[in-house]
């Protein structure tokens, strides 16, 4: 799965380059995430702007990703499509992950200026 990684200061930004995180790609998502955050020390922002569909397998993979970061880790989500937002709310996972309307808002919340 294509996930683009970028670091600004301590913050790691992961942009998911796929329309769907579903049962067909859930394991790839988890494995790619694990590789990309191996050296991350600060908060990780998962940018879901391109993702229009998330099913329970995909959600399970996002939860697994959160666990990869350990108890002290931070995984925040941004730019949720209406469908992804609905799944987060129906499963109450919106109470587990900090969710930001945009990547800029997520970065601002960490006092990081968005890249130009």
């Amino acid at each position: 799965m294509n996930i683009h990684s970028e670091s600004i200061g301590q913050v790691t930004i992961l942009r998911v380059g796929a329309d769907r995180i579903d049962a067909a790609v859930a394991i790839q998502f988890k494995d790619t995430f694990r590789d990309l955050v191996a050296d991350a020390t600060g908060p990780v922002i998962l940018d879901l702007e391109q993702v229009s569909f998330l099913d329970s397998s995909g959600l399970g993979a996002v939860v697994a990703a959160r666990k990869i970061l350990g108890d002290a880790g931070e995984l925040e989500l941004c730019s949720l499509s209406p469908a992804v937002d609905k799944v987060m709310k129906l499963t109450r996972m919106n109470t587990v992950f900090p969710i930001h309307g945009s990547l800029d808002a997520a970065l601002n919340s960490h006092g990081v200026a968005p890249a130009a």
């Binding site: 579903d22 049962a23 067909a24 569909f53 993979a61 666990k67 880790g73 129906l90 499963t91 109450r92």
Partner: protein, 165 residues
């Protein structure tokens, strides 16, 4: 995919008789990749009928959960399972029947899954699965399952909002 268009909605019928007669029969191989492909195609067809994105999202999510459940559980021991889906749109609802010839549901009934309250859970205790049937129950009406001979048959309805048709 075999599409059978029964009738084209006539806008001149006006909002007092909001019916679309449309149905589709789909057969797919029981793999996660085929499930994704099937859902994308089905939703594109239904979007062209004028159904709202919100309704289609509910349908796509419910079907994804049911179909992937069949792939993972009913056909867990089989490499060449097939799934049949009938979808029809009429009387202000999307009606679906999903059939497979895999293993029966445990106790021949739909599983009851707990509703999680993840807010109070430690990170490492957060559930990574088990959301499926709760989502399906939340988003459907008349959810039914029967085991008939070698077949599993699951059916449900998703109501359309009045303004969308």
């Amino acid at each position: 995919m075999n599409l059978v268009k029964l009738a084209t909605p006539d806008p001149l019928d006006g909002p007092s008789d909001p019916k679309i007669g449309w149905q589709s029969q789909i057969a797919l191989s029981a793999t996660p990749q085929e499930v994704s492909r099937c859902l994308v195609g089905l939703c594109q067809d239904l979007l062209q009928l004028g159904l709202s994105i919100e309704n289609l999202f509910s349908l796509e999510l419910v079907l994804a959960e049911i179909l992937n459940n069949i792939v993972e559980h009913a056909y867990s021991d089989a490499s060449n399972g097939t799934i049949q889906i009938q979808v029809s749109v009429h009387d202000m609802a999307i009606w679906c029947v999903v059939q497979d010839t895999g293993k029966a549901m445990p106790n021949a009934q739909l599983p009851k899954q707990p509703r999680y309250d993840p807010q109070d859970m430690a990170v490492q205790d957060l559930p990574e699965g088990g959301f499926g049937w709760t989502l399906i129950r939340d988003l459907t009406h008349d959810l039914k399952y029967v085991r008939k001979g070698n077949f599993n048959k699951c059916s449900f309805r998703i109501d359309l909002e009045a303004q969308t048709v």
